[in-house]
Amino acid sequence: MAKVQAGFADEIKRFGAVDFSACYNCGNCTAVCPLAENDNTFPRRLLRYAVLGLEDDIQSSPEPWLCYYCGDCSETCPRQSNPGEMMMSLRRYLTSKYDWTGLSRKFYVSKAWELGAIAFISAIVILLFALFLRPTADPAGLINAEGGVKINSFVEGIEPETFVTIIEFGDWTMAAIVSFFLISNIFNMYLKIVIRNKKVKVPLRLYVKEAWNLFFHFGTQFRFSKCKDWTYWALHWLVMTGYTIMFTMIVVILPWFQTERIHPISHPQRFLGYYATFGILLAIIVWSVSRIRRTGEVHKYTHASDWIFLIMLFLTTLTGILVHFFRIGGLIYPTYYTYVIHLAILMPMLIIEVPFSKWSHIAYRPLAIYFTSLINSAAALEREEKK
């Protein structure tokens, strides 16, 4: 039997929720929500769980991830109980609960921990460069035929191909760390939502049948477009595609991306890079301005982790742009140092944000939709069998 925990509200408030205790359980939020449908009703039910402190019910709910924070609920809430922000806080809380290391919670509730961890990883990256990949003192021969900087030839005694391989090795190490934590957290999420679900047992064949959900929703964020203001979705999609392209280029096909010669602008390496940079930069500007001005419910409340995310993303983009133009401009040492700083920001951002913080939603959202469709289809099957 579930136990009421009055103190649970305080725990959720650590993750950002403004006061939600005013809720009088009228159901307006759920009724106006364009995303709540059928059995997956929210936010009221989740708010109720939080008020009563029903931790297990919250942890086994996929609903927080089905919410895209259109803000209609908070806007029309008769008690101004901020159901939208409550759902946002639950996502942070769940991220910390899926994470078995306990780091996620530390990063969310303490700025010192999060900034400290970022600084720590940054320092490691800079240290590695300082120890093993110091730039040559002789800049001769670092300019290529196009007049730009040869980005892979900085280190004396290391061939360009070897340099790319070293960086690629670093990328893969980072990706391995990130994947290890993220996948183990995903497994935790799967246990909580699907396996410990007391209502239904999901037959194996449904996992295959419903798998399309995962790819479709990862690629499109289709549900997000159901919000009244479709620009939220459009901007998010721009960032998502931009980032996925960028991530693929720097991790999966680095030798193709980080070349000695400077390709013409018509080369996909360049225009894909420009597309990604444009999308990410536009989103950073719009989101930052909206958060400062507090326009729309979704930007009204900003948790420290939101700012850290935006600032890190901005610095990564900015240093990336600088590296690019320093390279084209033939500025040898600025290219090298900015490149090191770029990596010293990018690495901690991915290692901290993806498995432990805001960026984990890249996996949790499509997975929650997938798990929900598993449970709902299994329930439908059971209903049919009973007939």
Binding site: N25, N28, P78
Partner: protein, 433 residues
Amino acid sequence: MGMDPDRSKYDVIVIGGGIAGQESALNLADSGLSVLLVEKDVSIGGKMIHLSKVFPTLDCAACITTPKMSETARHPNITISTDSEIVDIEKNPDNSFSGVLIKHPRYVVENDCTGCQDCEDACPVIVDDQYQYGFVGRKAAYVPFSIANPRIATIDIENCILCGACERACAADAIDFTQKIERTGVTAGSVIIATGFNLFDPAVIERYGGGGFRNVITSMQMERQLVPTRPFNNVLRPGDGKMPDNIAYVLCTGSRDETVGNPICSQVCCMYSIKQGQLLLGSLPMADVTIYYLHIRAFGKGFEEFYQQSKGMGVEFVKGKVGTIEQKENGDLIVRYEDMREGRVKEAEHDLVVLAVGMLANPEAETLFMGGKLEIDEYGYVKQVDRLRNPAKTNIEGVFVAGTASGPMDIPDSIVSAGAAASESLSYLKRAR
């Protein structure tokens, strides 16, 4: 009408001629005090005179109010000034109150008009009838409503085209277009504020159609459809005149809602909706009535039984605030809500939706006194400074508050409140003398 020899000196000024104002005025007048009753409308009666029945007894509202209105109008100690307002009230050094009574021109000589309605027949201008809440039209020269008091004509000069047809039709020669605003200084020993409440205007709620849906009406409009003096001879939906057979009530429209700036309960909507539900089952025996509620507040004597009775009669109760209303092409409405028992979001179709609108403070009370000296509470009502011991007391000694001017309440409570205001005013005057 009560004729005081000095038309400018009274014992008490009662502001507002609704049920509370009348009750206060009658109590004081019966004790031998002279009362000036100031009413801004062209008839006394307030909101109650337009209601169908009262809860939970189902007594006819007009049958209770009309005799009271007549008694007030005929009382020798009461002077009624309709179509009037009082402004710039001030407390004098001798503790008396003085103010300026502004009487707006009615363009009809009150003592000459017989209420024959010949002017109404002659008038060519038709506009919305505010006393039928826009369901039907009325003329620009008109008797406000059949049980008005005084039951005499008035001319709506805003819409009048000055054709003179009424003047020619009037056998009593009572039409007088030369009337002007009259300002008189009045003084009294005490003031009772009974300015009542305003109904919430649901047009501000976009997701309920913003006032644009043909078959979404307010509870006051439904009230008009259920009275004997109703606009149509039956309950009809205004969009196309179809007799509705699936009616929804949306409770807490504009009450307990921070987004419209009214966080408090209006105290009457649950009960009047339950009452209307019962009356509808009587007038439309084949109709379904569904009440969407947040919490049913049946707190008064006999209220819970009345609620249970409506359930027994077949009124459907669904727990959940209506989130959105959408209009279909045929004028039917789709209501979206969360069914909390089943944990599902549902949509239901209705052919008439009644918004159970709440009470809002009447902001006019605030401007009665010079320099805004009257204290108002956080919800905009007249502040009861000593609510538990002297519920009618305001921050100005000698000024008392009656009825819904002090907060949302039902009719019996308004009358109790008005009685309290009258007796507190009376004892104040005795003490002062």
